[in-house]
Amino acid sequence: MQKALDGTLTEEERLAWQDWLQQHPGDLALYEEQALITRLLEKMPEEEPPAHLEGQIMRSIRNKQRNNHSIGQLIFQRQEDPMAPKYRWLLLGAAAVVIIAVVISRFYPSTPDSTTQGTIGAVQKADKFDSGQMSAGDVTLTDSELQQLLQNEVVQRIVADQKLMAALQTMDSKALAALQTLDGRAIEALQSLDGRAIAAMQTLDARSIAALQTLDGKAIAALQTLDAKSIAALQTVDAKSIPALQALDGKAIAALQSMDGKAIAALQTLDVKAIGALQSLDARSIAALQTVDARSIPALQSLDGKAIAALQSLDARSIAALHSLDARTIASMQTAEGKATVE
């Protein structure tokens, strides 16, 4: 029966099989049932895989080829899921930088190097970048890889941004060396990259990147609401401040966005308890605090441990009393001596 269903019977076998079926109606019914299913299944059409699938597979393969010292892997080894929100944000920026570098290497005047081939990660030693200016051979791709990259919507947007492109041409050797260690996985992350994330990432320096690696998902979500001014201010934050920052809620973030670099420096001396107290400040208090002038800052900086401890012991009532201070009172207090402020 199997051979009959497969259509592989010889003529002699076929005749014998027909005779058999005539004499065995039970087998005939079974055969017809199997034949029907076989014919039905043969009608099912084959589907074409999506056009992007082959490229997607090859990118996955290239990711496997990366060595163990990439920035991406330093990030990934901190958490089981490498594309968790905690690190994804960083990867988006890293991907943007890689792509931009590739585009520059191909399209700017110093590019006519026909020997370029290989993969993004498989580049030469860092000392090759002594010139401090990117050249065609620095980051290279095969033609098919380049074509795929250029079709990417985000890449097209980046290329169209002349200001950004001009800025990137000034990348120094250190930045280029760092690029060599980027993980190819970042390319995949590009799909979800938006313009705001690119712009924000451009302002981050290596110190900020290191600090950001310690942030959790909540902090990342909060950071995503920051504007360029806040990002610049945050670049002055050191590792000690990170745990305190992680405790900030949306309200505090909004308040922080109005602060300048100097205020951020002052905030770096605050501990978690103080941060908690700050979070209880309402808009009026924030507004009052914003009236503190340059003269008051040195006074505040002169507070000793005892005074700080006293401030930290303020109860809700006292906090409420402080909230009732108006701008005029604040102004008058600012005219007092620093020590009077403490008292």
Partner: protein, 177 residues
């Protein structure tokens, strides 16, 4: 792909030739995708399965024995990946955004019913049906892929088709019209 070409391709892949691996992907991605699509009934899952299959092929090239068929070896990985993916229960019961059949095709309703019936088979039986009737593989090849004897494959296939017939009848499909 003839054996000589296949052996050469395997050798180049083992030597880390990216282009050779790209050739291999290009050659096998369609059957692997279709195998996964029929087993998972989801375009998104089929993509995932196809991708993970080739990543595993890449990772395991060292364990591939040259005497075996590359085709069968890849199919075995793909089939296991697809069945595992299906068993993980991702979007098991409904069609996703990726169509299984084009509505423009005349036999759309029938094909849809067949796919529905296939999904009611045990994953193992479904894989067998797919390998035999969608991928048109021989019994010997299927036996290698599923690591069973040819005779067992034939009898299992027979039973799987009978089950499919019963399910189709339940779905109201009694003939080819």
């Amino acid at each position: 792909m003839i054996e000589l070409q296949e052996a050469e391709l395997v050798s180049r892949c083992r030597n880390g030739d990216d282009r050779a691996f790209a050739e291999l992907v290009s050659c096998y991605q369609k059957p692997v995708y279709n195998l996964a699509l029929r087993i998972t009934r989801s375009g998104a899952l089929a993509e995932e399965v196809t991708q993970s299959t080739f990543v595993k092929v890449y990772e395991r090239f060292g364990s591939f024995k040259t005497g075996l068929s590359l085709f069968s070896w890849i199919y075995r990985i793909a089939m296991n990946e697809a069945i595992n993916e299906y068993r993980r229960g991702k979007r098991r019961s409904s069609l996703d955004e990726t169509r299984i059949m084009s509505a423009a095709e005349p036999s759309f309703e029938l094909a849809e019913a067949i796919q529905e019936a296939l999904m009611q088979l045990k994953p193992d039986d479904r894989a067998l049906i797919v390998l035999r009737h969608f991928q048109n593989l021989g019994y010997r090849e299927i036996a290698v892929i599923m690591d069973r004897s040819e005779s067992r494959i034939k009898s299992q296939l027979f039973r799987a088709r009978s089950s499919l017939k019963i399910i189709l009848a339940r779905l109201g499909v009694t003939n080819e019209e």
